[in-house]
């Protein structure tokens, strides 16, 4: 610690004001720099649909959309997301964008305890946005970062596959 500039470091324990557009609404909150985005969403904004699982980027329970792309909310600090557009499972649900995925997950029992489901849905939504008709192999590959501890994978893949087919048949693949 030679020659460190304490003026740069004196806010170590202080909070910072950050602003996001979360689920289409402008929000501002005070966060400590060490606070992860998932903690900010759950604690400060009370959006508990985003789940904190491994907090290491391995399980995928915390996936949200940041500026339109799926990211791990546990692998970034809320301060890094200052100014960003964030869509959580609550926002995606309200918008109706994933209503068919949710219905198909329900119909095929592709959720058991439901803990992994928000992340699975965010991931499936992103996959189907990029590839209209993924193969089962591509679905498995895309889900490789999402853990389901109830071993519901087969039904999850069935559900995503069925939605991809249905959307294509409607000619409305997004």
């Amino acid at each position: 610690m030679n020659g460190s500039d304490e003026t740069l470091l004196d806010d170590v324990d202080e909070t910072v004001r950050v602003r996001f557009i979360v689920n289409g609404r402008k929000v501002a909150c005070e966060v400590a720099p060490r606070e992860t985005l998932v903690d900010c969403l759950r604690n400060a904004l009370e959006l508990t649909g985003t789940h904190a699982g491994c907090e290491m980027g391995a399980c995928g329970a915390c996936l949200v959309q940041l500026d339109g792309r799926a990211v791990h909310a546990c692998l970034m600090f809320a301060v890094q997301a200052d100014g960003a557009k964030i869509d959580t499972i609550e926002g995606l649900t309200e918008s109706g964008a994933i209503a068919d995925l949710q219905a198909e997950f329900h119909r095929r029992n592709a959720l058991q305890c439901g803990f992994c489901t928000p992340g699975m849905l965010v991931n499936a939504h992103e996959l189907l946005t990029q590839i209209a008709r993924p193969s089962r192999e591509e679905i498995r590959d895309a889900l490789s970062g999402n853990y389901c501890r109830c071993t519901g994978y087969e039904a999850i893949i069935d559900a995503i596959d069925a939605v991809a087919k249905a959307r294509s048949e409607e000619g409305g693949a997004t």
Binding site: V12, G57, V71, N146
Partner: protein, 286 residues
């Protein structure tokens, strides 16, 4: 686990970032994608007092041709390595490796420069910079410099980067019509770290190999070029006898570390299997 408290500074320029690092007495870390750094902070493997966010520095962005090189900005995300047409055309080995880097959501945040700077010996991109003879562009208190990938990776997570220095871009010699490439890795599950992985860039005259660079990952403390094995292939065509000789030569180049999960002999065997497959593909012109 949660990170220790730190201050956060969002830099707008390279100079601001370097200046902030210097003022923090080197008790600082740069953060871009953070897909490796954030877990390390959460586990308190690292506990800097200052985090300098370089994500908003425009000079670190973009992919463009500069003379006989492709300049890939450090902030280029892994998902862009997959989708950027210039990379597919002029650095196809990197595009081939990109789908193997972690999972889609990690690829949406993780950066190419961050991966190279971290130098994880099990990661795809650091090893591929060796295979393609890339140069690492670095900015630091003493100015800018470029270091060849061959001289960049020193030991486990140790590189030629000095404290306070920042990887700003990777320069890749443009892929040519007389070159061939191949990439693959063996992992227990897609997206996991590879048990062993390899990328090859060869310059050919017809079927004859004029030059070849073979780089492995997950086989030691650093990304690893196998120069003895490369030497057995120069001036020859890739027939089965020559490929078998190259596979045998690997033993002189690789000394995989012992681990409970994968004994050295098994890793060496897997490296031979992988090399055989990749040279076979190269021989077919793939």
């Amino acid at each position: 686990m949660k990170a220790r408290a730190f201050s956060y500074f969002r830099a707008a320029t390279i100079d601001q970032a370097l200046d902030a690092h210097a003022r923090a007495g080197d008790d600082a870390r740069f953060i871009a994608g953070g897909q490796s750094l954030v877990p390390a902070l959460s586990l308190r493997l690292q506990a800097p007092r200052l985090l300098i966010d370089i994500t908003h520095i425009d000079a670190l962005r973009g992919v463009r041709r500069e003379g006989s090189y492709l300049r890939i900005g450090a902030l280029t995300r892994h998902c862009e390595m997959l989708s950027e047409p210039l990379i597919a055309e002029f650095a196809p080995l990197l595009a081939a490796a990109a789908p193997f880097v972690a999972h889609p959501a990690i690829r949406n945040r993780g950066t190419f420069g961050g991966s190279v700077a971290l130098a994880d010996p099990a990661s795809e991109f650091p090893a591929m910079t060796l295979a393609i003879d890339a140069e690492i562009e670095i900015a630091g208190p003493a100015g800018h410099r470029r270091v060849k990938a061959d001289d960049f990776f020193i030991d486990l997570f140790e590189t030629a980067l000095q404290p306070g220095e920042l990887v700003t871009a990777i320069h890749v010699p443009l892929f040519r019509a007389d070159q061939r490439f191949a990439f693959d890795e063996l992992a227990r599950r897609r997206g996991d770290y590879a048990l062993v992985g390899c990328g090859i860039l060869a310059t050919c005259a017809g079927d004859r190999i004029d030059d070849i660079r073979i780089s492995f990952f997950s086989v030691g403390n650093t990304p690893t070029r196998v120069k003895g094995t490369e030497a057995t292939l120069i001036g020859a065509s890739l027939d089965p006898v020559r490929i078998a000789a190259a596979q045998a030569a690997l033993e002189g180049d690789l000394a995989p570390p012992d681990s409970d999960e994968v004994p050295p002999a098994m890793r060496l065997h897997l490296a031979r299997v992988l090399l055989g497959r990749l040279l076979g593909r190269l021989g077919e012109g793939a």
